[in-house]
């Protein structure tokens, strides 16, 4: 590429990078502002007066934040493990060319991507018939098998040489045994990639909480952030409920709100760059049509 053209290209991407990062910086800076400077001067990239009062108030009553974190971590860990196992098992079967019900299974998995019942029947089913409202399971079960991830996983399994399974069969191994001891270990990179996708889904989920959770003890990070956005009083009320008295009128609501957002989204922001290459890998496989 001509040097001048290259410089222009870099310049474009530098601008794009700024556009991507600047909004996040604004939130971070707001969380480190003093309440007073936000009220007088608004949200700024460089606050008039730096202050930790937002964080102080959040950490002064850590009960709710800790509880929300533990719910999110529990749901993410359990959900990812179970979901990964189910996804891998059905994807493997769909990838086996000698499996008699391969076509039927694929149809069964993919059809709901094209046509589904939508929100209302799902909601009624979960609440009235499965009685899962206000349980930890309702945050885990509905996302267990995502057709999209099954297809990505199948893409990986398509490349596992069938000969290894066949030779294990001749040695007398059952399909279960060869799947768990031979195929799965070969698919570790695939499990890592799809597992990451799944864990992001669970970590970032507010939808199931919004629909099915009323019990404050089962509020996840994302749901807590949603409720706090509408009224910081939710946090204040909960803080009071969990740890005694608090004067709501002196509550630094604007900064505390942003501090909560940073604490809620922060961990993901630090973790994700390390895993980015797995995403690229997963997408490369997923985007190649058979």
């Amino acid at each position: 590429m001509r040097p001048s053209l290259r410089i222009v290209t870099h310049l474009i991407f530098v601008l794009v990078t700024v556009a991507m990062v600047l909004p996040l910086l604004l939130v971070v800076m707001a969380s480190f502002s003093s309440e007073d400077s936000i009220i007088r001067k608004g949200y700024r990239l460089w606050p008039e007066i730096f202050s930790l009062e937002g964080y102080k108030i959040v950490f002064q009553y850590p009960g709710m934040l800790l509880n929300a974190y533990s719910i999110t971590v529990m749901v993410t860990v359990m959900g990812t493990i179970i979901s990964l196992l189910l996804t891998a098992m059905i994807a493997y079967v769909m990838a086996r060319r000698d499996y008699a019900y391969r076509k039927a299974t694929s149809f069964f998995v993919i059809f709901t991507m094209l046509f589904n019942g939508g929100l209302v029947p799902f909601y009624i089913l979960v609440v009235k018939y499965l009685h899962l409202k206000d349980t930890l399971w309702v945050l885990i079960l509905p996302y267990l098998v995502n057709p999209f991830y099954v297809l990505i996983m199948k893409g990986f399994f398509d490349r596992v040489p069938i000969e290894v399974v066949e030779s294990a069969k001749i040695d007398g191994a059952s399909e279960y045994r060869s799947f768990f001891t031979i195929v799965l270990p070969l698919a570790t990179p695939a499990l890592a990639t799809v597992g990451l996708f799944i864990s992001f889904v669970y970590w970032n989920d507010w939808w199931l909480g919004l629909l099915f959770i009323d019990n404050n003890k089962l509020v996840s990070i994302q749901l807590m952030l949603y409720r706090t956005m509408n009224s910081i009083e939710f946090f204040a009320a909960n803080a009071r409920y969990m740890s005694g008295q608090i004067d709501v009128t002196k509550f630094p609501s604007l900064t505390a709100r942003m501090a909560l957002a940073v604490l809620g989204a922060g961990p993901m922001m630090f973790i994700f760059p390390f895993f980015q290459r797995y995403f690229v890998k997963g997408l490369t496989v997923g985007s190649i049509k058979e």
Partner: protein, 306 residues
């Protein structure tokens, strides 16, 4: 061999593999196929204590109620127009970024990629906070800039006509990194020998992009387009619910089918009507997928999904 016996032996030969898939099949049956039965709710006057089957039928009343109101046109129009905007804008930017990225060879690519991808990992709730920091009345970043110029601050959360631009911008910001990566991965997957051959024949970069990169990316673009067109009747609930902060002043330009159904179900509690709207969404969405696949088939059979 007798027929029943043959059938049994097929199952026998495959039963271990079948059992491996059973947990996922059962899951799908309960959480994704059983709700299809619940679609009959659209034709019923649902009463919680009577359940799905016990509630009385009421014909097409739920649909009438919805289609007679202005809401039907408003939310259908919003859903379609936003999706059309998202599809076109994201495609243009993502393709542009992907091609530009593939032309660079320095280590900076990694940095650009990370930055582009960063917002993708925020939940819509967090994005709602980010937008709030920009748009909150008088305190928001944008109103601060407005004040700097001596203009009157704007009540963003009350002025509906600005929101099509805001939502298109926010959606692009959050999703462009993902789409860019998909196309970038597609470009990286192109066999380098094509480019080498072209280079030997004296082709320039522009020519290579036009006659190698774009044609070879076309199948991928088309597959993603079909899926996107098939999804034009659905929208990302979080974007339309959290980002406008469910402000009722903005419904005329921010309300889409998904948010409408959610409110009808959770706020109003009209199960029958929200089920009817949901069925309308599912059926039209399905027809759109079938139609777009049919069109692609007519153009080029290889690119069709089935």
């Amino acid at each position: 061999m007798k027929h029943p016996l043959a059938k049994q032996s097929v199952f026998r030969r495959n039963r271990e593999l079948f059992f491996l898939s059973v947990p996922a099949l059962v899951f799908k049956l309960i959480f994704q196929y059983l709700p299809l039965v619940g679609l009959i709710l659209a034709f019923k006057n649902f009463r919680y204590n009577l359940g799905i089957f016990g509630s009385p039928w009421n014909g097409l009343d739920n649909f009438k109620f919805f289609f007679v109101s202005d809401n039907a046109w408003r939310i259908t129009r919003n859903t379609i127009l936003y999706n059309a905007g998202f599809i076109i804008i994201t495609l243009v930017f993502a393709l542009l970024f992907a091609i530009l990225l593939s032309e660079l060879s320095s280590r900076a690519i990694k940095l650009y990629q990370t930055a582009l991808f960063l917002p993708y990992f925020l939940s819509w709730v967090v994005v709602g906070y980010v937008v709030l920091a920009f748009l909150e009345q008088e305190r928001g970043f944008l109103d601060q800039i407005w004040l700097l110029f001596g203009w009157d601050p704007i009540s963003w959360y009350q002025e509906a006509e600005r929101w099509p631009y805001i939502l298109n911008g926010v959606n692009l910001w959050k999703t462009v990194g993902f789409s860019t990566l998909v196309y970038y991965a597609g470009i990286l997957g192109i066999n380098p020998s094509y480019y080498e051959a072209a280079r030997i024949d004296g082709a320039g970069r522009w020519q290579m992009m036009r006659s190698i990169t774009l044609p070879l990316l076309t199948p991928l673009i088309i597959v993603l387009l079909i899926m996107a067109i098939g999804g034009m009747f659905r929208s990302d609930f979080g974007l339309f619910y959290f980002v406008p902060n469910n402000s009722s002043f903005l419904y005329s330009t921010t309300d889409v089918i998904d948010t409408y159904v959610f409110r009808a179900l959770r706020t109003v509690g009209d199960v029958g009507m929200s089920a009817a709207v949901g069925l309308y969404q599912s059926v039209v969405g399905f027809l759109l997928v079938v139609l777009s696949n049919w069109i692609i088939r007519r153009i080029n059979e290889e690119n069709a999904l089935w």
